[in-house]
Symmetry: C2
Subunit: 331 residues, 2 copies
DNA sequence: TTATATTTTGTAATCGATTACAAATATTAC
DNA sequence: GTAATATTTGTAATCGATTACAAAATATAA
């Protein structure tokens, strides 16, 4: 494996010149430039990244910490982050916390050890509580989850607004008695709950919420239990795609028909929501855009460490399908 | 940030002793051991990974190169790889090739630059052609794709067998005139084609195959065109989950009813395949297991660089659903 | 007790780049 | 043509660990 001194020797210059040429620094003559480039090419020289990182104290690596990359929302985020990262010559280290604050802390420590250039984080509720990016030795951009007063860069959906619109849609379509199943362990779930409450209040309706763990299995069993004690509501709202799937499975188990007996809606426009019969009305999140905005914000922050804290808020899109079809007021 | 000499000073020992204690090497007295541990704790010492990697020439990093992490098959693989990797104190660098040999080559070069300890790779057809792990400066384990004579560790599904069984299932359920839509750009697709051909031949039937690019959109438009020129076959087989989804969408567009007018089957037991009406008959792949087996094989290879090349072959499971319901022979 | 083998500990070289600083060279001003 | 300045180049220090080797301490054998 050729190293810098071999290139220097081959080109008949000093190692400093080689380094300068390869780093693209100014102030090096064209003749040396050419000789170095030729030599590097000839020897198939590749700089040793460990050595470079030790001396330069930069790793050009960014950490991506999410709850589970298998959640389609985060799958898409990951892809967006990697696309933009690699375009900018950064590596990505991917970590799954499973909403476990200990794993989260472990990975944040790991990020420090790796001396990453920055981190994109979807924090647990516990960590978000008094999160300040200033507490970390690297820039952090929050993604998907963020409180109103969090002192950190963030890219999020306007959850309150989206839940408000989804709930209003149900009410206006003749489903005033509806129930929200929300993931209580994430800030996102709580904000969607907030929007739901606001919409219900605005229409003078009694809200009803069920806190669940945001997994398909838990949502299904919780909903199953829920349906064992009538009366049944007129509509359901799921605060994310996993819960939505769990609800649908539970409805099938107890043979409650959508939309005849109950309307079903939720967040995340996953492929299956438009394939099932009836199609499910959802709030579509611009997931790739969210990931892209997050990494771009992080790169900006890296370039401008002192710039003011920024928040990017994206709007969800209501996709009306048959699962929330209009219905005449009952009774 | 405390460094090793600070710990050494605090503990009143040499840096060598600190390094030895922290690396867990034998031949260090219990008294020094304790003092070092206490000092490291007190100073919250974390070794600098760049320095360690430069000197030790080990990175404890593994590369995962797949076509697209958004393909649910690879999503699950990624998660399995990361789980096992982190349990063994390895980092994971994730790369998406989009089936593009140039991106693939770029990332393999990157892996060399990063001096990774090993790589898990789902190769493009082009790369697989004469792939030999001996050509790379790091151990490589292939995943999902591998030819019969490839000289490399690999973890794959028994594709020929699975396609054979799926095809036979269709034939035995009264669907002799069936068509395979397969991803021609991957070894997996080609092997599934092979199993399909074998099953058709075994029953003296005329095979019919359509090569497509393995994306939802392309499969949909290819199928759409296909259905514009009758006669229509009795059944369809998709060589993976993306193509399967594309076929279903096309069938809906041209309003061909499943299973009344046509049977639909394929690979990959994705959530939606059992949610749609009718449920889709599929070959379920043990995806998490495949990923887990791959990383475990890689770790073995790292520990035993000279061991014989191994291949792990897993069996797919046929999940019969209503989309391939039994039908009396026509005519 | 002394000589030898063994274990423990410390000193200093090393990994392979980047970069501060000094030296050499070229340019400009007078 | 000389002095002052700007530019280019090279030498050597540096990043922070690991580890080869030497030295010191301890254990074992005679």
């Amino acid at each position: 494996m050729a190293q810098i001194k071999d290139v220097a020797h081959q080109a008949g210059v000093s190692v400093a010149s080689v380094s300068r040429v390869l780093a693209g620094h100014a102030g090096v003559s064209e003749s040396i430039r050419q000789r170095v480039l030729a030599a590097a090419q000839a020897l198939d020289y590749r700089p040793d990244l460990a050595a470079r990182r030790l001396r330069s104290r930069r790793t050009d690596t960014i950490g991506l910490i999410v709850s589970d990359v298998r959640n389609p929302f985060f799958t898409e985020i990951s892809r967006a982050v990697e696309d933009v990262a690699y375009q900018n010559h950064f590596r990505v280290i991917l970590c799954n916390t499973d909403e476990n604050p200990e794993k989260e802390a472990f990975y944040l420590d790991l990020m420090r050890d790796e001396n990453v250039t920055g981190v994109i984080l979807s924090p647990t509720l516990a960590l978000l509580a008094d999160f300040r990016s200033a507490d970390y030795p690297f820039p952090v951009v929050l993604v998907d989850r963020c409180d109103r007063d969090t002192a950190a860069d963030a890219v999020v959906l306007d959850n309150v607004d989206a839940a408000y619109r989804l709930t209003t849609h149900l009410i206006e379509n003749g489903h005033p008695r509806n129930v929200l199943f929300y993931g209580a362990a994430s800030a996102t779930g709580c904000q969607r709950r907030e929007g739901y409450m606001a919409a219900m209040a605005a229409h003078g309706l009694e809200p009803q919420v069920e806190a669940v763990t945001a997994t398909v299995d838990h949502a299904r069993s919780a909903a199953h239990k829920f349906f064992c004690r009538p009366p049944h509501p007129e509509a359901l709202i799921a605060s994310n795609g996993l819960i939505l799937l769990g609800l649908l499975e539970a409805l099938r188990e107890v043979k409650i028909k959508v939309p005849e007996q109950i309307a079903l809606t939720g967040f995340d426009d996953l492929p299956w929501t438009r394939l099932v019969e009836p199609g499910i009305t959802v709030i579509a999140q611009p997931t790739y855009d969210i990931g892209q905005a997050a990494i771009e914000l992080l790169l900006q922050r890296i370039a401008q460490p002192a710039q003011a804290v920024r928040r990017v808020v994206l709007r969800g899109e209501l996709r009306e399908r048959d699962s929330s079809k209009k219905r005449n007021a009952r009774r």
